[in-house]
Amino acid sequence: MNIPYTVETRPDTGLNNGKLGIWLFLASEVMLFGALFSTYIILRTSAPVWPHGELSILLGAINTVILISSSVTMVMAWASLKMNEWAKHRLYLIATFLLAAVFLVNKYFEYAEHLTHGEGPWHSTFLAIYFTLTGLHGLHIIGGMIVMAYFIGPGASLWKRNPEQFANRIELTGLYWHFVDLVWIFLFPVLYLL
């Protein structure tokens, strides 16, 4: 039994199943982070004082550049597939994976800086929301890396059997990855700059 429209587009909706599915998933993710950002706003507006300068703007800025670059390499990984350049696709996908890893290493140093001073999430409302938001975002990064690792490793064989489906899957991974990137683009000013 085959499920229709897993690869091909349904004419009257203009979508395949995966594409619609990932957009719905991202809509629910927007609600998840939306609730957390609302929490941030409510806590901050009701706090008598709000700390500034607790985080290293330099490290945050570097991570922002890293994530934006990884979004670019992700697009290139998909575009290479569309141009039928397998070797380039591999290169760009691995680059995306590595950039994500560098992001996490950077994040680890930031976390360690706070935790070695005994300033964990229990320390203040600011650090509580900081650790929760960036922690959840970090889990999304790890989730994306697991998916990429799958397509670098065992998932890559699909390219030979069904190149169109493989390209679709990379496209969906990319959509998710851009969302994770976008969340960070909100997190950086909200937590580091404002």
Binding site: M1, N2, I3, P4, Y5, T6, R10, T13, L15, N16, N17, L20, G21, L24, F25, A27, S28, E29, M31, L32, F33, G34, A35, L36, T39, I42, L43, S46, A47, G120, P121, W122, H123, S124, T125, A128, I129, F131, T132, L136
Partner: protein, 593 residues
């Protein structure tokens, strides 16, 4: 096919694998880790029915304590151990666990999984002519994540401090300072939320993408519309509760103070937390889910009732388009009414005014739907089948539940009624004789499709009339108790308060008797359910002479559902078409040349 399934590894040579028309699956992949929407639907339904029975059992225990406070529970009182019920007398801590878990289990593990996971999974793909759900693997995962969530919830009863006991709403700061099962509750909830996320994405994609040829939007059965709107509510309303759950877990485990205010004193001691948090924030995040959740409970029920009513009145539904527009509007509005649960929190008259206006607006589409269903009965020669009895009972029961909600949705009367038994009566009328009756209607109605056999009609009627009478004796007196000012969370049912003396307290005994009798009247159903699987009367593929697509598939449908690709020629409820040979013209019947 180079992959050979476990069944074929013994006996069959590899080259013979392609002789099979379709891949034969082993027991585990066919019945346990199945990716077939019908099997998953039945798994969901049976698990959910067991949870409903369990949650009902918790309530029957609470009812003993309310009817006869401080008396040992008869017969089974010794089973709960000295930590919960020494000498068979229930402790307040145990009572609170029962209350919190009754609500949680009934809503998140019983009704929603049955209405959405069970009926949605089984019926919806058949009604739209799809071979399966769009993502069968996700569908399987959705069930198993739900199952794990359920196990975590049940396991919390056996933890040293017992299950969660801060109510199903888990309001902080109580839910954060208390010991015990709350952490398990939150963990279980995160599993259940994940499961419903997987499910809702799958439902929406399936409905949008896999509709059969000719099945345009305005030809969809109303049940499918109900499932579509429900899936959107689950998709968009649950994540904020997930966020809230994560925040409360952080408060409990990482020592944060998202919901803990500064200077909180518990038992004469200042609580050692950073402070600066906001307990009301939890209520906002919780009700942002939990109000749409009310519609998640009721919309699939309305869908089921519409199918059953159209079929048994042998008439088209009155105002199909009005029904569709109403349910979509209801879905949108349900996102902006949540704070009507919070009139008494002191959030201010401006907020109260806003939310009571939206609440009055949302009652309009509900009334449109109920009216359309009532008008559908007008002039019909009704077939009083068992599913129809339950569907007919749904209408006045939901009507009572809905109308008693209006005083609660207006801030001034809510001052008097808030947190009383009136509220319990109100929402139980919506969910118990409302939604659960509709679910029973659905079980009796689609049972022949799932098994090829009909459930026994006499037992069905005993089940219906017994349940109908008892459930009204359970919930109707609660309005009286609530108007008398009886608080809903009292361990002794409020006997210690003078204003409850006399009738309000005595009614607890009546309610208790009726609740236990209601339990007895479920026995014919349970027997009927299992007996009919093997011994029920065999019936044709379309025993109710219905018009929608699921009745064109064999009963039970095989893997892939339909023998030929279904094509839809007309709207969903073409009953008693003038000039037609029979009183029903199915969607799948081609136009005569």
């Amino acid at each position: 096919m180079d992959k050979v399934s476990t069944v074929e590894t013994h006996g069959h040579a590899h080259g013979h694998a392609h002789d099979h028309a379709h891949e034969e699956l082993g027991f585990w992949r066919k019945y346990v880790f199945s990716q077939d929407h019908k099997v998953i639907g039945i798994q969901y339904a049976i698990t959910a029915l067991l949870f409903l029975l369990f949650g009902f059992g918790l309530m029957m225990l609470m009812r003993w304590q309310l009817a006869y406070p401080g008396r040992p529970i008869p017969v089974i009182g010794g089973l709960f151990g000295a930590a919960n019920a020494p000498g068979g007398i229930m402790l307040p801590e145990f009572y609170n666990q029962l209350g919190a878990m009754h609500g949680t289990i009934m809503v998140f593990l019983g009704v929603v999984p049955l209405a959405v996971g069970g009926f949605g999974n089984f019926v919806m793909p058949l009604q739209i002519g799809a071979p399966d759900m769009a993502f069968p693997k996700l569908n399987m995962m959705s069930y198993w994540v739900y199952f794990v969530g359920g196990v975590v919830m049940l396991a919390s009863f056996f933890m040293p401090q017992g299950a969660a006991r801060s109510g199903w709403t888990s309001y902080p700061p109580l839910s954060i300072v208390e010991l015990g099962g709350q952490t398990w509750w939150l963990t279980g909830m995160i599993f259940l939320i994940t499961s419903s996320l997987l499910g809702s994405v799958n439902f929406i994609v399936t409905i949008v993408q896999l509709r059969a040829k000719g099945l345009s939007w305005m030809r969809l059965p109303f049940f499918v519309w109900a499932q579509l709107v429900t899936a959107f509510l689950l998709l968009l309303a649950f994540p904020p509760l997930e966020a809230a759950g994560v925040l409360q877990l952080m408060d409990r485990l990482a020592g944060t103070s998202f919901f803990m205010p500064s200077g909180l004193v518990v038992g004469g001691q200042v609580v050692n937390v950073a402070g600066g948090g906001n307990p009301l924030l939890w209520q906002h995040l919780f009700w942002f889910l939990a109000h749409p959740e009310v519609y998640v409970l009721i919309l699939p029920a309305m869908g089921i009732v519409s199918e059953v009513i159209a079929n048994n009145t042998r008439k088209p539904l009155w105002g199909y388009r009005a029904l569709v527009y109403s349910i979509v509007f209801l879905g949108f509005m349900s996102f902006i009414v949540w704070a009507h649960h919070m009139f008494m929190t002191g959030m201010g008259t401006v907020m109260n005014s806003f939310f009571q206006v939206t609440t009055m607006i949302i009652s309009i589409p509900s009334v449109v739907i109920l009216t359309a269903l009532l008008l559908s009965l007008w002039g019909a020669s009704i077939r009083f089948t068992t599913p129809m009895l339950f569907a007919l009972a749904f209408l006045p029961m939901f009507g009572i539940g809905g109308l008693t909600g209006l005083p609660l949705g207006l801030a001034p009367p809510d001052i008097h009624l808030h947190d009383t038994y009136y509220v319990i009566g109100h929402f139980h009328y919506v969910v118990a004789p409302g939604t659960i009756f509709a679910l029973f209607a659905g079980i009796y109605y689609w049972f022949p499709k799932a098994t090829g056999r009909r459930m026994n009609d006499i037992l069905g009627r005993i089940h219906f009339w017994g349940s109908f009478v008892c459930i009204n004796i359970v919930f109707m007196p609660m309005f009286i108790q609530g108007l008398a000012g009886m608080n809903r969370r009292m361990y002794d049912g409020g006997a210690q308060y003078a204003h409850n003396a006399g009738l309000p307290v005595q009614l607890h005994i009546w309610i208790g008797m009726a609740a236990w009798t209601l339990g007895l009247f479920q026995i014919p159903f349970i027997f009927n359910f299992f007996w009919s699987i093997w011994k029920g009367k065999r019936v044709s593929d379309n025993p109710w002479e219905a018009t929608t697509l699921e009745w064109s598939a064999p009963s039970p449908p095989g893997h892939g559902n339909f023998l030929t690709e279904p094509v839809v020629y007309r709207g969903p409820y073409e009953y008693s078409v003038p000039g037609a040979a029979k009183d029903f013209t199915p969607q799948f019947e081609p136009e005569r040349a």
